[in-house]
Symmetry: C2
Subunit: 201 residues, 2 copies
DNA sequence: GTCTATACGGTGATAGAC
DNA sequence: GTCTATCACCGTATAGAC
């Protein structure tokens, strides 16, 4: 039960910050060392290389947000649409607290797709499987599950990727765009319903 | 009327290739020089610095695809929904020929938002304005234009950003995923219609 | 564990001969 | 225009004293 924050922890926090802002190629070990208040030698003492450190941060960030998101889908007392709403709320809420996460993860995986091997992102498959059941029951229209999941996740994530572009296109201030994002869940929920309930109910 | 390709052109093509694959921070001037069949000194002779060269490539790529896309919206003989369909077809068709473009541009603008200043991406605003007119006329339901445009563009772009992630999640081969993308326009058109025609017609 | 010092290669960029 | 040689600097990584 130590009172002070360990050096290892300070390094991890600094590395998270730098990697999230600069990406892997743009990040500098010197910058991480400075932010952690130590010298570069210590980085290599605690974490052998830049690659290892980056992989740790990536795994940490991926596993950090997954539980909150998937929890929404596991409550079997809820209807499919209620689960969907909870999922959208949880997802967008998490993203609003981690606005740089999407570009960080997408860049990392595109740079080195093998990194996906260590993750088991079943949340997408879970939604797709739920949809197939709901389609069988006739609760929703027969939408292509994978295409819909791609759309659903994209509706949540894309605003965080395209922020500077859309701010410029629509000439929005930072506050304006924050407001757009704060209301995003209402629109995503509505759009998802519209897609799934086409010519039904 | 020169018969041979100029050195400048060879450099630009090499730079485009390297920057598109590696991003700015990951790209190496040496790699560009090698690919162009010249040495590093020539790069600086033709284009003063890495920054200038990158900016040129970014501008070239942004301006290259815009005309094809916007053309779809300009044909006033078409109805709004037909324009939308053409836009989706043109956009997805262009992306299938430039699969790395989305991550390239999004990374570039997120790294340096000031770069947006040199572009006038009115296509988003044009769609939003068309929507407002259609809403007034009662042709579509009163959807928030900016939220919808964000969704529409995201539905087109996101599959190209999330390719390695979704391939892993759904355990798809490269061919499987290509097939998903080849059919994407049908689903996007259908989803857009569902959103815009909620409880109407 | 923490530091200083340093190795070694690669970086973008420039000078100057041809 | 094109090349070689070289610059000053920074990158990651390591060795060794304390």
């Amino acid at each position: 039960m130590q009172e002070e924050v360990t050096t290892e922890q300070r390094i991890l926090e600094a590395a998270e910050d730098v990697f999230m802002h600069e990406g892997f190629a743009g990040a500098r070990m010197q910058q991480i060392a400075d932010k952690a208040g130590i010298n570069k030698a210590m980085l290599h003492y605690y974490f052998r290389s830049k690659d290892k450190l980056f992989e740790l941060i990536l795994q940490y960030k991926m596993r950090q947000f997954l539980p909150q998101i998937t929890a929404a889908l596991r409550d079997d007392s809820l209807t499919f649409f209620d689960k969907l709403d909870r999922f959208i709320m949880a997802y967008l809420g998490m993203l609003r607290k981690n606005t740089r996460l999407p570009l960080f993860i997408i860049s990392a995986i595109n740079r080195n797709p093998e990194l996906m091997a260590s993750f088991n992102l079943k949340v997408g498959r879970e939604i797709a499987e739920m949809m197939q059941q709901e389609i069988k029951k006739g609760h929703i229209s027969p939408v292509h599950p994978q295409q819909f999941v791609l759309t659903l996740i994209g509706m949540c994530i894309f605003p965080f990727l395209a922020r500077p572009i859309f701010r410029s296109v629509f000439e929005l201030s930072n506050d304006d765009y924050d407001h757009l994002i704060a209301e995003r869940h209402l629109h995503v929920m509505q759009y998802a319903r519209a897609i799934l309930k086409t010519a039904r109910e």
